[in-house]
């Protein structure tokens, strides 16, 4: 029971980080109909910048803001400078350019910072609170939980309650009609990339202290898990990303805790296979077609 409570609580915290990253993939998919394979590499660049800022200023919060800003800036530069210039007749060219970008960014980080994992200090303690003799959550897990929830709620409000969100949603599903109504669709695509890259950077920043440390590849596994979640939930579904993230996060920690870490990737892949067999469009998928 004690183990279960601890694993469940940790799993929820971990799941929300995966959900955030999956949501960033959903945002970009909706905005540009691209699965951004460079999302992890872009996020890690932002995290390197963030911890450089932490090193210079001594303030974790300055680093957090730097991660968000770098993410947004990278998103804008890559969309305007690169992805926009790729032909959009099929999704394939964009994805291949994104994969190329992964190599460029990771090689660049390798040249600048070397191959080793740099230890990273969490802003709060990572030893768990003990409630009635049962270890529950660490203060850092709690921090992750609160930040992830706040961002998820904020994004929900942005997309559903603001005029910017209305334009983002309309451009995503009906770009041509949106342009006819005066929506600046190219700008919405850029904003989608900025938001997405920013959220991914935050997810990676939250994750890194609980992992081995910071290297060019620190977010690769997170990408695989989040990609699984996005496919599970349906690439068009923000709610799917949230619930899928929680399910996968809890699954990973449970399997790791009870069976051993080696089984966790297998469990995730088994889940992915099962969902693809039963509901190929994803559990929460809307209809796939755009309405033009």
């Amino acid at each position: 029971m004690e183990t279960f409570v601890f694993l469940f609580a940790t799993g929820v915290s971990r799941g929300l980080v995966i959900a955030l990253f999956a949501l960033s993939l959903v945002i970009i998919w909706r905005a540009a109909r691209i699965i951004n394979f460079a999302q992890a590499a872009m996020a890690i660049v932002a995290v390197f910048v963030a911890f450089t800022v932490v090193g210079l200023t001594g303030s974790y919060w300055a680093g957090l803001i730097a991660a968000l800003a770098t993410g947004a800036l990278l998103g804008a530069i890559i969309e305007r400078g690169l992805i926009r210039r790729v032909p959009h007749v099929t999704p394939l060219p964009g994805m291949i350019v994104a994969i190329g970008l992964v190599m460029v960014l990771q090689a660049g980080l390798g040249i600048l910072f070397g191959p080793e994992h740099r230890p990273v200090q969490a802003p709060f303690s990572e030893s768990p609170f003990v409630v009635a003799g049962i270890p529950v959550l660490s203060p850092y897990d709690l921090f992750v939980l609160v930040v992830a929830l706040a961002v998820l709620v904020g994004l929900g409000l942005l997309f559903n309650r603001s005029t910017l969100g209305l334009q983002l949603r309309a451009s995503a599903v009906a770009p041509e009609v949106s342009r006819l109504l005066g929506v600046r669709v190219p700008r919405m695509v850029t904003i989608g990339w900025m938001l997405s890259a920013s959220v991914a950077a935050l997810a990676a920043l939250l994750l890194v202290p609980t992992e081995l440390g910071l290297s060019a590849h620190s977010a690769d596994i997170l990408f695989v898990q989040a990609f699984t979640v996005a496919v599970l939930g349906g690439l068009d579904s923000p709610i799917g990303a949230l619930l899928g993230g929680l399910i996968v996060g809890v699954l990973i920690t449970m399997v790791t805790g009870y069976l051993g870490a080696g089984y966790a990737p297998l469990a995730v892949l088994a889940l992915l296979t099962a969902v693809l067999l039963i509901r190929p469009g994803g559990i929460f998928a809307l209809k796939e077609a755009r309405t033009a």
């Binding site: 334009q167 309309a170 599903v173 041509e176 342009r179 006819l180 109504l181 005066g182 929506v183 309405t291």
Partner: protein, 252 residues
């Protein structure tokens, strides 16, 4: 080609509201629209007729900027639109309701209307007032305001597309086959609404239709396209009344 100039709109002093000049449009190879010239005066309701593939939709999509012409140009009230992007043409007063009930199906009726009014009314209370005005004009939409686009009937969707275009108070409205797939009673309602709106607001309308009778019943002028060229341009009443013309160009 006969030029229609009404008495109260002298052609010398003011430019036509919408003007196509030596317009040639091609997707690949041979042109769909070939060296077309057409002037539409302020406040006119013009029916654009012709068989499938005659180039009606192509002409409208070129006017709104979704297609770029190979040669020639489109002018709105004397202003050349060649370098004006789609989303800025609507800001100049040129609105298009594209074919196929272009409601954004994932958004509610209310959100669709707000989307149409966003650029026009920066202030939220102004926009709310404009949306309310549309609900007054299109009463069935008020009952459905919280429904998502995909829950609406064909007639409701067409009504919403029209209301969403009108909310920004355009000067010119381009309509592509609004009657497609609708019951005759609904078509008649829609056409009446359109004519009333044009009369009340002075809106200029270019209405592409396969439904010749309905279109001519509310139009001032009928223009028949055949293979990218204008084959007839006459007052709507004449077109509707002349059996020889109808037989020759409209096939009934």
């Amino acid at each position: 080609m006969t030029e229609v100039v009404t008495e109260n709109q002298p052609r010398r002093t003011s430019p036509p509201m919408l003007s196509f000049q030596s317009l040639t449009v091609a997707y690949t190879g041979s042109p769909v629209i070939d060296e077309l010239n057409l002037d539409i005066q302020d406040g006119a309701v013009v029916a654009l007729l012709g068989a499938n593939g005659a180039g009606k939709s192509t002409l409208l999509r070129t006017a709104s900027g979704l297609l770029a012409p190979r040669a020639g140009r489109v002018q709105l009230d004397g202003q050349d639109l060649t370098s004006v992007a789609v989303e800025n043409r609507v800001r100049l007063g040129l609105a298009q309701v594209p074919e196929g009930r272009s409601v954004v199906t994932e958004l509610s009726v209310d959100e669709n209307l707000h989307l149409g009014g966003l650029w026009r009314y920066r202030d939220r209370s102004d926009r709310n007032a404009a949306v309310d005005q549309m609900y007054e004009m299109f009463e069935p939409l008020w009952r459905r305001r919280m429904s998502l686009g995909h829950e609406l009937s064909g007639g409701e969707r067409q009504m919403l597309s029209l209301a969403r275009a009108l909310i920004s108070e355009p000067r010119v409205l381009l309509l592509d086959e609004p009657s497609l797939g609708l019951a005759p009673r609904v078509v008649a309602q829609l056409m009446t609404l359109l004519r009333e709106t044009a009369d009340r607001t002075g809106l200029t309308v270019l209405l592409a239709e396969q439904n010749v009778t309905s279109a001519l019943s509310i139009a001032d002028r009928g223009v028949v396209l055949g293979l990218g060229e204008i084959v007839v341009d006459a007052p709507a009443a004449d077109l509707a009344a002349d059996p020889a013309l109808r037989q020759a160009y409209l096939g009934f």
